[in-house]
């Protein structure tokens, strides 16, 4: 893992588009973990360390949508140039590819990867928790309860909630 990190750090300093997609013949899938999601991505752009996906897969991963003004989630838009290659977006043979790990870095969202099996795991997005650290608003979540229902904290608005963690171990 230490060496993988070294590769990642190294790659961050490079101008990514120069070598990106050199090996287009090899289609590589990836598994992406975010919140409770396990998203299987059929095609990624081969790259030593970053995760590049088609724009529609970006939305499957983290709900961000690629719009003309950038990568957007609700009111927030991170500007992304799409008429020429950048460290966030490249076009290869007419197909656009978006750098999900690059977006995470811009959002200061922690991530970890197992490159051998191509599994990318993304942490909590800081932008979801700004009002948690300043003002103490409870961050919302969506988890499945034991009856199979999706439970969100926002379902409990108007209630006085005792949120408890425990473990069997």
């Amino acid at each position: 893992m230490g060496s993988n990190n070294a590769v990642k750090l190294l790659a961050k300093g490079l101008v990514v588009p120069f070598f990106l997609g050199a090996n287009l013949a090899v289609a590589q899938g990836a598994t992406v973990l975010y919140k409770e999601r396990v998203v299987e991505i059929e095609d990624t752009l081969p790259d030593a360390s970053e995760l590049w996906v088609k724009p529609e897969d970006l939305t499957r991963i983290n709900d961000f949508e690629l719009k003309p003004q950038g990568a957007c989630l609700a009111d927030l838009c991170i500007p992304v140039l799409q008429n020429r290659d950048s460290d966030m977006f490249v076009t290869r043979q007419g197909q656009g590819w978006f750098n999900v790990t690059g977006l995470a870095d811009k959002l200061q969202q922690a991530w970890a990867a197992d490159y051998d099996d191509s599994v990318f795991s993304f942490g909590v997005m800081p932008l979801e928790r700004q009002s948690f650290f300043r003002g103490g608003m409870a961050p919302d979540f969506e988890l499945t309860d034991r009856d199979g229902n999706l439970v969100s904290l926002s379902d409990f608005k108007g209630k006085q909630v005792l949120l408890l963690t425990w473990a069997s171990w």
Partner: protein, 210 residues
Amino acid sequence: MDVPVWQVIYEELQAVNPDFEIISVAQDTGGEADAGPIFDAGNVSYTEIIDVNHHISALYNLVNVPSGVWIDKEGRIVRINEGTYAKTHMNGAFGTDEYVPIVRDWVANGPDSEYVWDSDRVEDSIIERTPEAERAQPTFRLGSYFFQNDNDEKAEQYWTLAQELDPTSWNYLRQDLLYEEGGSAGPEWQQRRQEVESNGGSYYRSLEVD
């Protein structure tokens, strides 16, 4: 151990204030097989969640279990990050009888309860994470993914890395020890706990009820 105790308290407090709810979230990578029977034995009617990825601990910066968060009707946190046992266990070997009375007071008095914290105190009580500790949560999740896919070697690799990135998390340590030592309160945990406590630290942040 507290699951059935909370059920009794839940029934008592719902009679006082029907807006009171408990969301109980097991931080159990082993899922239903590990935590399910305990919920079942408690005949639980509050909200039961088995959180195999420890998402709630990641989201609320919690490092130990049991931990509690009070959330008011507006979605504001008014207490956080405490060792929230429902009672003492094993003749006082662990647990506390001091927590439930303050919950009772909060349910009865809402925002006027003397145990409600202001936002400054809540902010001060949220555990701050280093960038490495932030990286520990997706790393732990990566390990859990491999665990769920029967790749124990990689699970161990990433769970170990998560503990190195966030040595303050008892959850990461003890979840891992369950598989390494067959239990989470064995020699390694005892040794780590003694180290922390002999350096003036505490296993749970002390419960402040005065």
